[in-house]
């Protein structure tokens, strides 16, 4: 009886751990898989909330906070009412800071998000915010590149920046195309640390590259 008891307890314990871990992985995978479609359906707020629930329940994982921040900043970009953009971007900032705390400091991926947050603030009033947020955004991209030279996302962001900058200001399709092409090559080589680690950006790069032609 005692041994059966032991077996039972170990089964139970392992099950609890595995189930928890599997549940986390499955939930994350499911939501990560929805990133692209959510973008098109305008379901980014839903997805942000999904990641945030996982983050708050898990308490020790940085990735759910990272994704919650990513979804939130994307949401800031899509918000039509510009008076709301700053508030949403501030929320994204709060989330990425939590992610960085859990990740033990900033990394290339969190810098990518921080650059996007600065760009979201910039978009509210480009003329008067350019000096402040334009530079912040650029510094974070540069930092993202130096923390992981193989990360294609900062290159993609740079390309996107060029794409939306008028030719007269040194932007335009030609310099953007160069960067998108480079980003695409890097996406081919890029191996995320795990299946839950960030791997987004390839299809957006393809989309923009098509626009450049």
């Amino acid at each position: 009886m005692k041994s059966i008891m032991m077996i039972f307890l170990s089964v139970l314990f392992t099950h609890a751990l595995v189930a928890q871990n599997e549940k986390y992985t499955n939930a994350m995978k499911k939501n990560i898989a929805e990133l692209e479609s959510a973008m098109q359906k305008g379901a980014m707020p839903d997805l942000a909330n999904n990641f945030l629930r996982i983050a708050d329940a898990e308490k020790t994982q940085w990735l759910p906070y990272y994704y919650a921040s990513y979804c939130t900043v994307m949401n800031a970009f899509m918000e039509q009412d510009k008076t709301k953009t700053d508030g949403i971007a501030d929320k994204a900032e709060e989330l990425i800071k939590k992610a960085e705390e859990l990740a033990g400091g900033e990394n290339s991926e969190t810098c990518v998000i921080k650059s996007m947050i600065a760009s979201a603030h910039l978009m509210v009033d480009p003329q008067s915010r350019w000096m402040q947020y334009g530079q912040t955004s650029g510094v974070h991209i540069a930092k993202a590149k130096s923390l992981d030279p193989d990360n294609p996302r900062p290159i993609f962001l740079e390309g996107q920046g060029k794409f939306y900058t008028p030719e007269q200001f040194g932007g335009g399709k030609a310099p953007a195309k160069e960067l998108f092409t480079k980003a695409l090559e890097m996406f081919d080589k890029f191996k995320p640390t795990s299946e839950l680690h960030p791997s987004w950006g390839r299809s957006a790069t393809n989309y923009f590259l098509a626009q450049c032609n």
């Binding site: 039972f8 139970l12 629930r53 003329q127 920046g161």
Partner: protein, 766 residues
């Protein structure tokens, strides 16, 4: 990691099973492995609304510490399924709202639960007490103007007050400097930099020619212009305060160079690697010799205006939230003007002015804990005007006449003013957004004059004043939508040995999404001007009482602001026979401001209109009359258009003001009183100004150099402008006061060489 409740209950049950045999146990383990899929799911749904009953889309509803939850749709409805059971906490949250917790007991039955979320106290969304106030700042709040607007207003020529003059409430006065606000004189408007008052904000007066503000608009990041009803933190201004906030840290280290039709400038700013300290120096030399040769001026400038200007600053981050800032300014200028004498066909008046001005400001801002904030400012300034007026013959040779009116037309005057002050303001955060603010200030000033003419030699006058003030003010937010600012201020001036205590109250109520009503009431005291106090000190404060009602609607693209006001003056200074406080007056009017950034593509414009009805009896006025600085109607249109393709911004501004009254007030010996011998009204004032800023390096994020070309011209249409009339001694001749030249042209190129240190920044943060 919290074990999930399902497992917790399972553990308890297991003990009972365990005693009954291994088959059941095995079955249970099997059951357990599939438990997640087997347990029936419960639906939780409802609606999320704000306290006004409007649905909140995108709100998060979550069962605390679980993955389960949902998001509200565009109608505020949410619905999700959960396998959780028993007592749980449901959390509802949305950006900008307070999080709401609700205890629920989940059984197999579906749950319907609605949430009403309360708005988070939010500085950006909350109502702002805005009666009387225009703000241009960098903060995220939607402001009426932003700092760039100040420097790109066509008529301003990079003078802060030039841009302010396109706002409602101000007068277009071309013959003397300062802000004339709502029937008030220039002396009734005071300028504050980082909280402390600035003496001699404008260059020293020259007869009949308005002078510019001394300070570059580029050193300020925030500007608040109040045309009435301002806070208890500010005193000694009957009409208006202009609050300027200096920049914190520069974006990066850089060197700058400027060359223009009026001079040369250069500067250097160094920002430390950790961005926690910076210093800078700059120097500018202005000389109008060349410009006046090309663009003829009507008075003969026998000494062309020349200025040496140098500045220094440093800023130190004292903590995560604190900063210590120093700004020092030194200016030396010289000019001489010769005009025909109004009383004689053969004589000339030669006026010359040498000015030395130094200003320094040290301010310290710090957050003390989460509730306290502190602002301490110290400033010292000294100003010396060396004025000579001479009578000259046609060959510009000096003559000394003994009889009137000529005897009093030549003199030497040295005038010196020093001001040292300290001001401390403490903020204590109360519940929500409410704040209690209190502090005090101490201003020690010394004014001296040394006068020599035919009648007196080295007549010295001097007075010292110690002005002490204390103030308390509370910003009370009843909700995000209703706010009050209630304050009081007590002052004592030693030179007149009088104390005053005043109330200042304003209220704001948010009506609709972007609209709000505000009202303000306050009493304002000011001691007599230095020119009066040098000779007579048995006087009291002058007093103004403001009543203001305001409605404004500010959104990202449109701003509408309307205001009506009534201002009552008491105790104004009367001169002439005796110097007393028996003057009085009032001013009433309404103002409209409209700004539109959207209707026309890439065009941003604003229109302001002021109606002013004012009368006062002061100085030597025989009775209450409309003063010569007040136009009934004033309107401005300011337009800005950025053409991306050309990297050029085009700015235009047009200002119109109806004619101002002018008087010849003469003393009648027989009646022993002052009388109006002649009066009239000037022609209306028109000025169309235009400026172009070309920015070839804009948008280049990696540019090491930033260049700005500026071209501007005032009074494009060459309209005749008359600011008033001067009368001869016998009253038979009157001469129009006109600007030295109708138009002013400016061409300049300003380069900033950014020492691009972004790589250092990255490395230091790694």
């Amino acid at each position: 990691m919290n074990p999930r409740p399902v497992l917790r209950t399972a553990k308890k049950e297991n003990r009972n099973f365990g005693k009954n045999g291994s088959i059941q146990l095995l079955l249970f383990v099997m059951f357990l492995l599939f438990a997640d899929n087997v347990i029936a799911q419960t639906t939780i749904s409802g609606k999320v609304k704000d306290n006004k009953g409007k649905p909140i889309p995108g709100a998060s509803i979550a069962i605390k510490d679980t993955y389960d939850g949902g998001t509200s749709d565009s109608l505020g409805n949410y619905r999700f399924k959960t396998s959780e059971k028993g007592e749980q906490i449901l959390l509802a949250s949305s950006i900008g709202f307070k999080i709401l917790e609700e205890k629920i007991n989940i059984t197999d039955r579906s749950i319907q639960i609605d949430f009403v979320l309360k708005e988070e106290p939010n500085e950006l969304k909350a109502v702002v007490v805005s009666a009387g106030t225009f703000e241009a700042s960098d903060t995220k709040r939607t402001t009426v103007l932003n700092p760039i607007d100040i420097v790109t207003t066509a008529s301003a020529n990079a003078d802060v007050t030039g841009a302010i003059r396109t706002l409602p409430g101000t007068q277009q006065v071309g013959e003397s400097e300062g802000l004339f606000v709502r029937g008030g004189t220039a002396q009734e408007s005071k300028v504050f930099i980082d909280g402390t008052m600035v003496n001699n904000f404008f260059f020293s007066s020259v007869p009949d020619i308005a002078q510019r503000g001394r300070f570059s608009p580029f050193i300020f990041k925030g500007t608040v212009f109040s045309s009435g009803g301002y806070s208890a933190l500010y005193g000694q201004a009957l009409s208006s305060v202009l609050l300027l906030e200096s920049v914190d840290f520069p974006e990066r280290s850089s060197a700058s160079l400027g060359i223009s039709t009026v001079g040369l400038s250069g500067g250097y700013q160094q920002l430390s690697k950790k961005k926690n300290a910076s210093w800078g120096i700059s120097y500018a030399y202005t000389n109008l010799e060349l410009y006046y040769r090309i663009v003829k001026q009507k008075p003969d400038f026998f000494r062309k205006p020349a200025l040496h200007n140098s500045e220094a600053n440093f800023r130190i981050k004292t903590s995560r939230t604190g900063i210590l800032k120093f700004y020092g300014y030194f200016n030396w200028s010289d000019l001489g003007i010769r005009r025909p004498d109004i009383d004689s066909a053969v004589l000339k008046n030669a006026f010359s002015l040498k000015n030395l001005n130094m200003y320094s400001n040290l301010s310290w801002r710090e957050k003390l804990g989460s509730k306290w904030k502190m602002n301490i400012g110290l400033s010292y300034s000294t100003n010396t005007d060396d004025i000579q007026q001479k009578l000259q013959d046609q060959g510009n040779k000096e003559l000394e006449f003994t009889g009137e009116p000529y005897a009093s037309k030549w003199f030497d005057l040295t005038s010196k003013a020093d001001l040292a002050q300290v001001k401390a303001v403490f903020d204590r955060r109360l519940a929500g957004l409410s704040v209690l603010r209190f502090g005090g200030e101490y201003l020690a000033s010394r004014d001296r004059s040394d006068f020599t003419n035919y009648f007196v030699t080295k007549a010295k006058n001097k007075f010292d004043d110690h002005l002490k003030a204390g103030f308390v003010e509370a910003d009370i937010y009843l909700t995000n939508d209703i706010a009050a600012k209630v304050g009081t201020r007590i002052e004592h001036s030693s030179v007149i040995n009088k104390t005053n205590l005043v109330p200042r109250i304003s209220l704001a109520y948010k009506a609709g999404d972007n609209g709000q009503f505000s009202a303000a009431y306050g009493i304002f005291y000011q001691k007599p001007d230095r020119q009066i106090l040098l000779f007579q000190r048995q006087l009291d404060y002058s007093k103004a009482t403001h009543y203001i009602l305001n409605y404004q609607k500010v959104s990202r693209n449109y701003t509408l602001r309307t205001e009506i006001f009534y201002k009552k003056y008491q105790g104004l200074i009367k001169t002439g026979i005796d110097t007393t406080n028996l003057g009085y007056g009032d001013a009433k009017g309404f103002e409209v401001f409209w700004r539109d950034r959207k209707t026309f593509k890439n065009v941003d414009y604003w229109i302001s209109y002021s109606y002013l009805d004012t009368k006062r009896d002061y100085l030597n006025f025989p009775f209450a009359i409309t003063p010569n600085f007040a136009s009934k109607h004033t309107a401005s249109l300011v337009l800005k258009k950025f053409v991306t393709k050309m990297k050029t911004q085009f700015n235009g501004s047009y200002t119109f003001a109806t004619g101002r009254p002018y008087y010849n007030i003469r003393y009648s010996q027989s009646e022993n009183k002052y009388k109006i011998a002649d009066q009239g009204r000037t022609i209306p004032y028109n000025s169309l100004s235009f400026s172009v800023n070309y920015l070839p390096d804009i948008g280049k994020t990696d540019a090491k150099r930033f260049t700005v070309f500026v071209f501007s011209v005032t009074n494009v249409l060459n309209s005749k402008q008359v600011f008033g009339y001067n009368y001869s001694y016998n009253g038979l001749v009157k001469e129009a006061v006109v600007p030295p030249a109708r138009q002013f042209f400016f061409i300049g190129c300003f380069l900033s060489f950014g020492v691009d240190r972004s790589q250092d920044v990255i490395n230091s943060n790694l």
